[in-house]
């Protein structure tokens, strides 16, 4: 081929234009022709059973909660990599370009994300330039304070009197929604609240069974529907059932869904609307995020917030090697507070989020 190279490039450009044009044509044409009638909405299946879990012992159960597990203990092993970075930073006698690079890498490796990392480091640079910081040791302290300073929020879980409180748990697949509900259910029941769990995940095979097993363990009732049924109906029945039994709180499970699936996000909006029907009131709408989640977590949080208005985040599986830095990104960039973190398998391992502890674990400071 002896054609001008530029010509070769441009013929491709032309092909792109034409492919685009043709595609537009074909597609709109098809759409014009083939708009299929919408299938009628399937009839709302009646929830089959209100499952009475093993009746909880009526007597006041005196439960002595074991001492709150410290995040740092749990993260002992996991921190070695991160600690390594900052040990290296601290061991040097002055702040130079390598110091900055190492700090950046430490934050990136913790999944804090490029944006927040850049923001934090810019702050620090300004302060170092102002001459208030001399040693790398001080710089690490400053980093810690800076991060903690970014994590100031109301982290309480809300319960209102005279309504049936609904705490809605949402998130992508496999983050640990059902497990989290089981644990929250246990804690709230021990705290003296009367709890009903709603098996709103009607999609995943055996998800309702999984929640029912938690119900047995915890001794709270689980309201469930048909597999493949309408999750809104399950939540509705759970609220009705809770109201009839004067329960304070409905913990509503939902099927894991990728935030990119428009239909499923619409379904979730509907679930929330149903849960809001008096006497129900959604007093917490919690996004469950896996600590291993990378930067996609930010997009997830944004999309779920748009759909159901998040009041908080639960970070699960923080006892692994993942640092959960995405929590920092979600809270600082979207203003959604992290309320609970999971640091182990047992129910006691779901604890309140403590920024100081989290940051110390994150940057390996405070040793």
């Amino acid at each position: 081929m002896l054609n001008d190279l530029i010509l070769a490039g441009s013929s491709a450009a032309g092909a792109i234009v034409i492919a685009g044009g043709t595609y537009g044509l074909v597609r709109t044409h098809r759409r014009g022709r083939l708009a299929p009638p919408r299938p009628p909405a399937p009839p709302r299946p009646a929830p089959v059973a209100v499952e009475e879990a093993e009746a909880p012992p009526d007597e006041e159960m005196v439960v002595v909660l074991p001492e709150r597990p410290r995040l740092r203990e749990r993260l002992g092993k996991a921190r070695s990599l991160f600690g390594g970075y900052l040990t290296s930073v601290r061991s040097r006698d002055r702040i130079d370009e390598t110091t900055w690079e190492e700090l950046e890498e430490a934050l990136i490796l913790a999944d804090v994300g490029v944006e927040v990392t850049a923001g934090v480091l810019d702050d620090l640079r300004t302060r170092v330039k102002a001459g208030n910081v001399g040693t790398p040791e001080e710089l690490v302290g400053l980093l810690r304070d800076d991060l903690v300073g970014r994590l100031q929020a109301d982290r309480s879980l809300h319960l209102e009197p005279d309504v049936t409180n609904v705490w809605l748990f949402v998130g992508v697949n496999g983050v640990g929604k059902t497990t989290t509900i089981g644990k929250v259910g246990l804690q709230q029941a021990r705290g003296g609240r009367s709890v009903v769990m709603a098996a709103g995940d009607t999609f995943r095979a055996a998800a309702a069974d999984q929640l029912a097993m938690w119900g047995d363990r915890v001794g709270v009732e689980v309201v469930r529907g048909n597999e493949g049924g309408d999750p809104g109906a399950v939540i509705f029945d759970a609220v009705q059932h809770a109201a009839a039994g004067h329960a304070d709180l409905v913990l509503a499970d939902t099927a894991g869904r990728l935030h990119t699936k428009v239909n499923l996000m619409e379904e979730l909006k509907k679930v929330r609307r149903v849960a809001e029907r008096p006497p129900g009131k959604v007093t917490e709408s919690l996004l469950v995020l896996d600590a291993t989640t990378g930067q996609n977590g930010l997009i997830q949080a944004k999309q779920f917030a748009e759909a159901v208005g998040l009041t908080g985040v639960v970070i699960t599986k923080l006892d692994g090697t993942a640092k959960g830095g995405i929590a920092l990104a979600v809270e600082t960039e979207l203003g959604i507070p992290v309320k609970l973190i999971g640091v182990g398998e047992s129910a006691e391992d779901l604890v309140e989020f403590d920024p100081v502890e989290f940051v110390d674990a994150l940057v390996g400071a405070g040793d």
Binding site: M1, L2, N3, D4, L5, I6, L7, A8, G9, S10, S11, A12, A13, G14, A15, I16, V17, I18, G21, T22, Y23, L25, V26, R27, T28, H29, R30, L81, I108, G113, V114, V172, N173, G174, V175, G176, R204, A205, A206, A207, D209, Q210, A212, M213, L258, H259, T260, D290, T292, G294, Q295, N296, G297, K317, G320, T321, A322, K323, I326, E333
Partner: protein, 453 residues
């Protein structure tokens, strides 16, 4: 805030475009951006560092003016490197001469092992195999129940019993032999890589069943930790590959890329949706495109160069620019396009196409009625569609076996498309290239460089 990778790359390449030669500073700037873009895609920091070094070596000093435009050259180098990292070949599953072929799945909690096990069994069924599923996740409540439901859906039997995972797996293997099943898929409990006890347990499951394939199941949304996890599992189990799940979301899947690079084991399967059939062998090249978040411009260029008649393309381009693009030209271009392969494949390569368009199903047959309608027109009508009146319209509809409404719709769309394409030709990038075509048409030049490295 959620600037996508493709936007970032576009910005980088816009800056590079128009430069005849890239200076070291240009390359450094582009690489800094690429580094950030990859980090945002969750590519592991170590991998990013090596990657950037390799790309820099290839770019600095290369005579970029010789081939594509410098911007495109950067894309090409980046793209080729990504492919190299992801591993070029799709792994082929071979079956044990003495069945069953044992497949062990392991991973963190919530990665999607149980779902993947069900899908994998269904996949083996589609290959004409007779799998048996073993539920060795006795930890998570109802995990075995979930597997039973998935097995029933796939038409695959499930073996499990309340015992310890090691003996369940061993008994499952014996059961497979007894039933004459030729593939055994073992689902295990999710476990943290730092949980020594559980890691030892999965090692014993492996020892008891001596799997032919051990796959680590990884969530596409995993961040920097993916590498540490994969290394730990690899150390314990000697992985053969990775199954990546949930890639139907919008995660860039940098984790997947990193695991391949660091552990040296390929991604074998990808789970692409909620249905059981949404699971297939993984194609590394497609992932490279996905991570770049861009259409595969280079393949498109290569395809176009291979099949498009240069002189014809040049004429069409000139007419397009003058706004004289007729239905005849359109028909010609459509023929050229068809030579380039199925439309659905091409659509994915077009950069800058809105997401909803890219993801829509495209049916090549949809081109047929359009072709028929145009072919039922007289040459005059094709040149000047405005003369088409009621009687011509019904003749065209009859001739093409369509309705007048469809003819109308095509004519309307064509008018819109003419306007759209005229607009496009005024865009800086394409417009300039087009005007270069008209200015330099016919000019002979040096022999084309050989493509590819």
């Amino acid at each position: 805030m959620f600037e996508s990778l493709s936007d970032r790359f576009d910005a980088i390449f816009t800056r590079l475009r128009g430069k005849g030669r890239l200076s070291e500073a240009d390359v450094d700037e582009a690489l800094r951006e690429i580094r950030l873009a990859l980090l945002q895609a969750d590519v592991n920091l170590r991998v990013v560092r090596d990657f950037v070094t390799r790309v820099r070596t290839q770019l600095v000093g290369a005579d970029l003016a010789q081939s594509l435009t410098p911007g495109q050259q950067v894309v090409k180098v980046v793209h080729d490197e990504l492919r190299t990292i992801l591993g070029g070949e799709t792994l082929r599953i071979t079956y044990a001469s003495r069945p069953p072929t044992v497949v062990l799945l392991a991973g963190l909690q919530g990665a999607g092992k149980t779902t993947a096990a069900g899908k994998l069994a269904a996949w083996f069924r589609r290959q004409g195999r007779q799998p048996l599923l073993v539920g060795a996740d006795l930890q998570r409540p109802a995990a075995v129940e979930q597997l039973r439901i998935l097995g029933a859906e796939a038409g695959v039997p499930v073996f499990s019993e309340p015992a310890d995972p090691v003996s369940v797996a061993a008994r499952g293997l014996a059961e497979a032999r007894r039933l004459g099943r030729d593939v055994l898929v073992i689902d295990t409990a999710g476990r943290l890589s730092i949980d020594e006890e559980l890691m030892d347990e999965v090692r014993r499951v492996s020892a008891a069943t001596d799997p032919h394939y051990t796959f680590l199941v990884i969530d596409a949304m995993t961040g920097q930790d993916a590498v540490a996890t994969a290394e730990a599992f690899h150390k314990t189990l000697e992985l053969d590959g990775v199954i990546i799940t949930k890639i139907d979301g919008d995660a860039r899947g940098g984790a997947a890329l990193s695991v391949k690079e660091v552990v040296g084991r390929p991604i074998v399967f990808a789970s692409t949706g909620e249905k059981q059939g949404d699971f297939d062998l993984f194609h590394p090249d497609r992932m490279a495109d996905r991570i770049l978040g861009m259409g595969d411009v280079l393949s498109l260029i290569e395809k176009a160069e291979a099949v498009v008649d240069q002189a014809e393309a040049e004429r069409a381009m000139a007419r397009l620019q003058e706004g004289q693009f007729s239905l005849d030209d359109f028909l010609d271009q459509m023929q050229q396009l068809k030579k380039m392969g199925p439309l659905s494949g091409l659509v994915g390569m077009i950069p800058g196409l809105p997401k909803e368009m890219r993801n829509a199903e495209v049916d090549d047959d949809a081109m047929k009625p359009i072709e028929a309608i145009i072919r039922s027109m007289t040459p005059e009508e094709r040149r000047n569609p405005s003369i088409i009146n009621g009687s011509r319209r019904s003749r065209i509809a009859r001739g093409s076996g369509t309705t007048t409404a469809e003819v109308n719709s095509l004519l309307d769309r064509f008018k819109q498309m003419q306007a759209y394409m005229k607009g496009l030709s005024n865009l800086p990038g394409i417009g300039r290239r087009m005007s270069r075509v008209t200015a330099k048409a016919g000019r002979k030049s040096k022999k084309k460089n050989k493509r590819g490295r």
